[in-house]
């Protein structure tokens, strides 16, 4: 097991689990996607209801919460950009692990979702 792990750490496969930057980058993309979705939804809602409390529809609140949520691992990793006692992999691992679980399960789920959709509706393109 340790031999395999060392081999992985010396091959390009290390980019999968051994480089934080990949997952921080993905996290940043997720934040931007949530932010753009939130702005779009808020615009549509304000156009419909004006600047009232009602503009805070379920969708807007949900996207706002989602934005907070994806900021969570990014903020965790960002604290180590400000200050870090040492260059240890372990410091940023919690945020990397969470992003791995989110991103990989979303990718896997998205593929399965498309496949299932095609089976349900074979005429859809």
């Amino acid at each position: 097991m340790s031999d395999l792990s060392f081999r992985v750490s010396e091959s390009p496969l290390r980019w999968f689990g051994g480089v934080h930057a990949v997952w921080v980058g993905l996290n940043l993309l997720a934040c931007l996607a949530s932010l753009s979705g939130l702005i779009r939804s808020l615009r549509a809602s304000v156009r419909e209801c004006g600047w009232t409390w009602k503009a805070g529809s379920g969708e807007v609140i949900q996207l706002l919460s989602l934005l907070f949520l994806v900021l969570l691992p990014l903020g965790y990793a960002a604290t180590f950009f400000v200050s870090s006692p040492a260059r240890d992999f372990r410091y940023m691992y919690p945020s990397t692990l969470l992003m791995q679980v989110w991103a990989l399960s979303f990718a896997l789920g998205w593929v399965m979702d498309r496949l299932s959709k095609k089976q349900i509706d074979p005429h859809s393109r």
Binding site: V8, G17, G58, F68, L69, P94, L104, S105
Partner: protein, 394 residues
């Protein structure tokens, strides 16, 4: 259907038990293995030769050679084949360079000393030797060649690899893995995919036994054992360790629980992500999430190493994954009809604050625990809000 699931879970559990029994019987057999170990260093590279007197004197065919580099202390470990040993002879160098021999001993399979030999007990020949601080120092005299040191074993050493009986293996399994097997059985009852992850965690327990320990966690364990705490490392974790040890559980059990909670956390969070994709079959979701957890258990990811290391960083990572899953579920609940999204949003923030404070407690010191109490209430309330029987949320 339920009966079928119980029968499958029981069958798998029995298989795991049988595998551990087989593994432990092999480990008990290894218990009889013995090694001859010593340290040697020489100022010139060369080879060291060790002779074993197996009842016929020191013969070339009963000897082992090892190459040694110059000026570097080498730990020589030689497996002793089963049989009788009446003496050892070490020819430390095949040249006239100065050398040093120390720490001559018989060890067991995991390196524990079985019998150590005092340097002065060795009979030395042709070496201009002296004993200094438990070491034999010799060589360096050009006219003296082929030095050697011999030891007569009284009584002779008998190395026997005895096969252990079924009863010995069974008692070893129950003593070392009994609690973990009970816990594994309980996890199997959660569902087949959770059971599979439980088996993976159990496999890692056997593979990495007794687990890994960081200097930080060793310090925390000693704090827990002596009952004095200091805040160089998270005090909350040291207090938890103390409570854990006081109720009679072991650190190995804790590492197994940690691995289980970590893997189930990955599965839970992955399932919460899959909840957002409506076309996936409900029955597939736990298995897809399980597949992801298995992917992270390969050498592609450091997760197996983290899950089997007692470390504050591991706890933080596990908590973080659970926070990510629970919070994602609450964000999805915001769109359910009949729920005030503002109220839900506030409760979600309360949950987030609680989780963050727990993470803080595991990473910093005791004063942060003060804010955890009120926040637990908020989280409890938050988690009990929202429809429970929604399709796709397990």
């Amino acid at each position: 259907m339920k009966v079928k699931r119980w029968i499958i879970a029981l069958a798998v559990w029995i298989l795991v038990f049988a595998a551990v029994l087989w593994f432990e019987s092999g480990a008990l057999k290894k218990d009889g293995m013995r090694f001859f170990r010593f340290h040697v260093s020489a100022s010139q590279a060369g080879s060291v030769q060790v002779f074993f007197d197996r009842g016929h004197g020191f013969r070339e065919e009963d000897s082992v050679r090892r190459r040694i580099p110059a000026n570097e202390r080498q730990n020589i470990v030689i497996l002793l084949e089963p049989g009788m040993y009446k003496g050892f002879r070490i020819d430390p160098v095949d040249n006239a360079s100065p050398y040093e021999l120390s720490s001559m001993e018989i060890t067991r399979v995991y390196g524990a000393s079985d019998q150590s030999f005092d340097a002065s007990a060795w009979f030395s020949h042709n070496s201009g030797w002296r004993v200094d601080d438990g070491r034999i120092i010799g060589g360096g005299v050009s006219e003296i060649a082929d030095p050697w040191h011999a030891l007569a074993l009284e009584p002779p050493l008998n190395v026997v690899l005895t096969g252990s009986g079924f009863r010995d293996s069974l008692s070893a399994v129950l003593e070392q893995h009994g609690r973990a097997l009970i816990l594994l059985g309980l996890v199997m009852l959660l569902g087949p995919s959770a059971g599979l992850l439980g088996c993976v965690a159990f496999f890692f327990r056997v593979l990495f036994d007794p687990g890994f320990y960081s200097p930080d966690s060793i310090d925390q364990i000693s704090q827990a054992q002596i009952g004095q705490f200091w805040d160089q490392h998270p005090v909350a974790m040291a207090l938890f360790l103390q409570a854990w040890l006081k109720i009679g559980l072991t650190i190995r059990d804790l590492i197994f629980v940690q691995a289980l909670v970590g893997l189930l956390g990955v599965q839970y969070t992955a399932m919460r992500v899959l909840d957002w994709l409506p076309n996936i079959e409900k029955a597939w979701r736990p298995w897809l999430a399980c597949l992801l957890a298995l992917l992270l258990c390969t050498p592609l990811s450091p997760l197996p190493w983290y899950l089997n290391t007692l470390w504050k960083d591991t706890w933080t990572a596990i908590l973080f994954v659970w926070v990510g899953g629970i919070a994602l579920r609450m964000v999805r609940d915001l769109r359910e009809p009949g729920i005030n999204p503002w109220l839900m949003g506030c409760r979600w923030l309360g949950c987030f604050a609680l989780m963050q404070s727990i993470v803080d407690c595991s990473a910093f010191s005791i004063p942060t625990i003060g804010i955890t109490g009120p926040l637990i209430r908020i989280t409890w309330e938050s988690m009990s809000v929202g429809p429970r029987s929604r399709s796709g949320s397990g």
